[in-house]
């Protein structure tokens, strides 16, 4: 604070020395924000003067102040109110940390006519209800009071300069209601000399999800206290250790699909010294589990976004439509929201990658949520068809890893044709009687005594349901990849094919073998895949090798995590049972041109 007041005194001194201030006797309105994005507001030079336009080169930024810095929010059990509490809920700055989340504006000190008074207003009509201004009232970090249209700034304040702060009460959800831009206007009114106005254009930070290439910071896993869950967590922990990542954080919920009920994300604005001031955001999935319940219609585990995770510089966001078709609800899970790594195609750059979702015109996730994600503008969504999958998630068939290629990354895709060929080759080599899924069962969650999953290679190839579903999977994944090739410009040598077969359930497709593509990319050199339990041919599990060998060629070690009992046979894998908060990318979204 001392620093702030020193600079104010300096400004006053500069004003006193300045010869042009008020020379004409007319009122002067000069409002500044951090338009040059260096983390500071300059009133003593022109560095923040390019302030009325907002482009990749200039324009000030502020945050939606929706975290809970002091952890004052009490968890609500109601889905309708649980998201309401945050630091922007009231017109009070809730401590120093809260104050840091507000972007600053300043009026440039200038001599004014004797009868001058000022007002600062939100000039953008759509933003009036969503943006709040504060005015400094004292030397403390949090000494601010709400500034409304009615707040009068005195001549003395105008002449000494006023420091303001701004927060958004929410992120952009629907651009037809508010596009995230706001014009903040200083009006200096002098009955004797007329009015002066000055405007600064600002933009609220978008929320962005993490792409796979960003280093993992926190791996999350639900602790459901079953034997299968414990086994998976233990083996994932070992993989994390090998990857140099901290042990997974446990989430105490009965819903084991940690990938699905929340999605880690972030927003940021320029900080001092070229840094970013970051607020982490966790989206809650728009899954509606109990539409008839008035207070708790949503997937219960999603409440952790608020009850457990919301805190200092960590916000929670939910957006849902209770009338969304319940049959499509699984598409709202975040296994159906992944982020394609950064790329450039045809001169258009996507420095934060692009959101990838399963959606078609007739089979789609919650449109209100999709609208909100698209409204962030930084990661334009690519949609592929997952309607043929029973669960319907993009993580069932695709993933991304770093690679020593010009693009810097590769696509992992399921290839059922390769899986079939491997099995046919094994039969040709005389290994048709070799069993797969040894010791595993379909029903019993703890043993394989009565309903063994074990089948020989020849039996699997003779299973018409498996063959039917696998042929369909081969074609449908090809169609998914065709879209990615078109959008990204991916070439065949940028794709790694991981083999596994599908089968039919409920008229749609599920992974028959553990879906090895459905793993977690933990570090540049580590990919945790589900244990495939493939046939041992020539002393090796050929499906393990089919994952390990191609990944090794690009410098990645595959760890195999046992997930059959708790995950695979109830239609998910290790990726579905975990989640990852990743490091903030060095790229600045405000330079993206979006």
């Amino acid at each position: 604070m001392a620093r702030v007041f020193s600079s104010t005194l300096l400004v006053i001194a500069l004003v006193a020395c300045s010869s042009d201030q008020g020379a004409t006797g007319k009122p002067i309105a000069d409002l500044r924000a951090d338009s040059n994005r260096d983390g500071e507001v300059h009133v003593d030079d022109d560095s923040d003067m390019n302030k009325t336009e907002w482009t990749e080169k200039t324009g000030a930024i502020f945050l939606a102040n929706i975290d809970d810095d002091n952890k004052r929010c009490k968890s609500s059990s109601s889905d309708l109110t649980i998201a309401l509490c945050n630091d922007a809920q009231d017109a009070v700055i809730n401590g120093d940390d809260d104050a840091h989340d507000l972007a600053r504006l300043k009026t440039r000190p200038a001599s004014q006519p004797e009868d001058a008074t000022g007002h600062v207003v939100i000039a953008t009509e759509d933003a009036k209800a969503l943006v709040r201004l504060f005015k400094r009232t004292g030397p403390g970090e949090a000494d601010f009071a709400e500034l409304t249209d009615a707040t009068v700034i005195t001549r003395a304040e105008l002449e000494s300069g006023v420091e303001l702060a701004i927060e958004a009460k929410d992120i952009v959800r629907d651009p037809s209601r508010w596009d995230g831009y706001v014009d903040v206007q200083l009006v200096v009114h002098s009955p004797s000399h007329g009015d002066a106005k000055d405007t600064v254009r600002m933009r609220v930070a978008p929320v962005m999800t993490y792409h796979h290439l960003l280093p993992a910071e926190t791996v999350w896993v639900a602790d459901t206290k079953t034997d299968g869950n414990l086994r998976m967590r233990k083996e994932l922990q070992a993989s994390c250790r090998s990857a140099g990542v901290s042990s997974p954080e446990r989430i105490e919920v009965t819903d084991q699909w940690a990938q699905d009920f929340f999605e880690p994300a972030f927003m940021s604005m320029p900080g001092t010294g070229g840094t970013q001031h970051v607020m982490r955001v966790n989206y809650r999935s728009a899954n509606v589990f109990e539409p008839k319940r008035t207070e708790t219609p949503l997937r219960p585990a999603g409440q952790i976004v608020f009850a457990m995770m919301r805190g200092k510089d960590v916000a929670g966001v939910q957006q849902f439509d209770l009338s969304h078709n319940a049959e499509m609800d699984s598409l709202n899970s975040f296994g159906n929201l992944e982020t394609i790594p950064p790329y450039e195609k045809d001169g258009i750059s996507y420095p934060f990658g692009r959101v990838l979702r399963g959606a078609t015109r007739s089979w789609f996730p919650d449109r209100a949520f999709a609208r909100m994600v698209n409204a962030q503008l930084q990661q334009p969504a690519i949609e592929i068809d997952t309607s043929w999958l029973f669960v319907g998630h993009v993580d069932e068939t695709l993933s991304f890893v770093k690679a020593p290629t010009p693009r810097g990354w590769m696509l992992l895709m399921n290839d059922a044709t390769l899986a079939k060929k491997m099995l046919e080759d094994a039969v040709a080599a005389g290994a048709g009687d070799t069993p797969m899924f040894v010791g595993k069962s379909w029903v019993d969650f703890d043993t394989s005594e009565e309903t063994p999953a074990q089948a020989t290679i020849s039996e699997v190839l003779a299973d018409r349901q498996v063959m039917q579903a696998s042929a369909e999977a081969a074609v449908e994944v090809d169609a998914q990849v065709a879209i990615l090739k078109q959008e990204i410009g991916l070439q065949d040598d940028e794709i790694l094919r991981l083999p596994f077969l599908h089968t039919v359930y409920g008229g749609k497709s599920i992974a028959y073998q553990p879906g090895t593509v459905n793993g977690i990319y933990l570090s540049d050199t580590r990919f945790a895949a589900p244990e495939p339990h493939g046939p041992i041919v020539g002393g090796k599990d050929i499906f393990r090798d089919a994952v390990s060998e191609p990944l090794a060629k690009i410098g990645i070690t595959a760890d195999f995590v046992e997930d059959w009992d708790a995950y695979h046979r109830v239609l998910g894998e290790v990726h579905c049972g975990s989640n990852t908060t990743r490091k903030i990318p060095a790229a600045r979204w405000w330079e993206s041109g979006r």
């Binding site: 044709t417 042929a471 074609v475």
Partner: protein
């Protein structure tokens, strides 16, 4: 089958399930008017021919007398279902697959639960899902003795669409002459959503007259949603990989050719998802006639359609469902 599956609520649900088994045994000899089965089971009973119903009662009794273990095993899985569903991704565990993996001896216990004594103690919101799992399991067992029960369900046009799709698929999987006749007549009498539900399940019947019926729907429908499911059905009927796993190939060539012909026609006529569905189904069918059908379709086609057909031909040439 272990009975102490470590799933939270199994034990408290186990007792009523065992009671249901006892009830089912008692029911087997009861007159139809005395049925105390829950509505769905009763509805099936009333729709089944009397002789078929009596045969079913007899077969269930005989099966239990011969070996009660499969009945207990099916019970265990049914009891497990709500908890397994709660654990499953998309909130549905593949209960039908679990039941089918028990093998042929699961048929009578499953049919009993469908037609004579519906599972009790199952939460109301879980009952329809569990019933569909039982239906799907009957189909996966490929046993024609399930046909009377399944036909009775398909005949009920008040069933929801997903149940209609499921039961159609189950009948299709049985796939004998009676099944094929049932499917063709049911589709012929169905319109709109019910027709789509039947089409969505019919593809697993690999009989020529069923494929022709589906192809005819694809040719004549003006509805894109119907075209999508019909294309998918033809893809399934002609699925080249599935055919390799079947013992009888007598109708394979004609079915795949019939499917491919209708799919190329639909590709030409439609756009968007319906066209994509036709393209994907053509790859799955992988009929040798496909290049010639595409070439024929190009003759006189509008430039845009011809270009799309070229793309289709190129995709077919490197068909992802063909071993590289």
């Amino acid at each position: 089958m272990k009975t102490n599956m470590r799933l939270g609520s199994v034990h408290k649900l186990f007792i009523p399930t065992m009671a249901a088994v006892a009830c089912g045994a008692a029911l087997a000899g009861a007159p139809r008017s005395a049925l105390a089965a829950p509505p769905n089971a009763q509805s099936i009973a009333l729709r089944m021919p009397a002789q078929s119903f009596a045969d079913l009662q007899r077969d269930v009794s005989l099966a239990r007398a011969a070996d009660p273990r499969p009945f207990a095993m099916v019970n265990d899985i049914v009891t497990l279902a709500p908890d397994a569903n709660a654990r499953a991704r998309a909130r549905r565990a593949p209960i039908a697959l679990y039941l089918a993996k028990l093998g042929p001896s699961a048929l009578m216990p499953v049919l009993e639960k469908l037609a004579l004594d519906a599972p009790r103690g199952v939460p109301a919101e879980e009952a329809p899902t569990l019933r569909r799992d039982l239906i799907e399991a009957v189909g996966l067992l490929h046993d024609a003795r399930g046909l009377p029960v399944l036909s009775a369900i398909l005949d009920d046009d008040t069933e929801d669409e997903e149940t209609t799709r499921t039961v159609t698929e189950a009948i299709a999987r049985i796939g004998n002459d009676d099944a094929a006749t049932k499917l063709v007549t049911s589709l012929a009498g169905a319109r709109d959503a019910r027709a789509r539900a039947i089409l969505a399940g019919i593809g697993e019947c690999r009989r020529l007259r069923v494929t022709e019926a589906a192809a005819d729907r694809l040719r004549t429908t003006t509805d894109d949603a119907t075209a999508r499911v019909a294309a998918r059905a033809l893809g399934r009927a002609g699925n080249a990989w599935a055919w390799k796993a079947l013992p009888d190939h007598s109708e394979e060539a004609r079915i795949r050719e019939t499917a491919a012909r209708a799919l190329v026609g639909s590709f030409v006529l439609r756009n968007g998802e319906a066209r994509t569905a036709a393209s994907n189904a053509l790859m799955v069918v992988d009929a040798p006639e496909t290049p010639a059908l595409i070439a024929a379709a190009k003759k006189g086609a509008a430039p845009e359609t011809a270009k799309a057909l070229d793309t289709l031909a190129a995709r077919f040439a490197r068909n992802p469902a063909r071993t590289r």
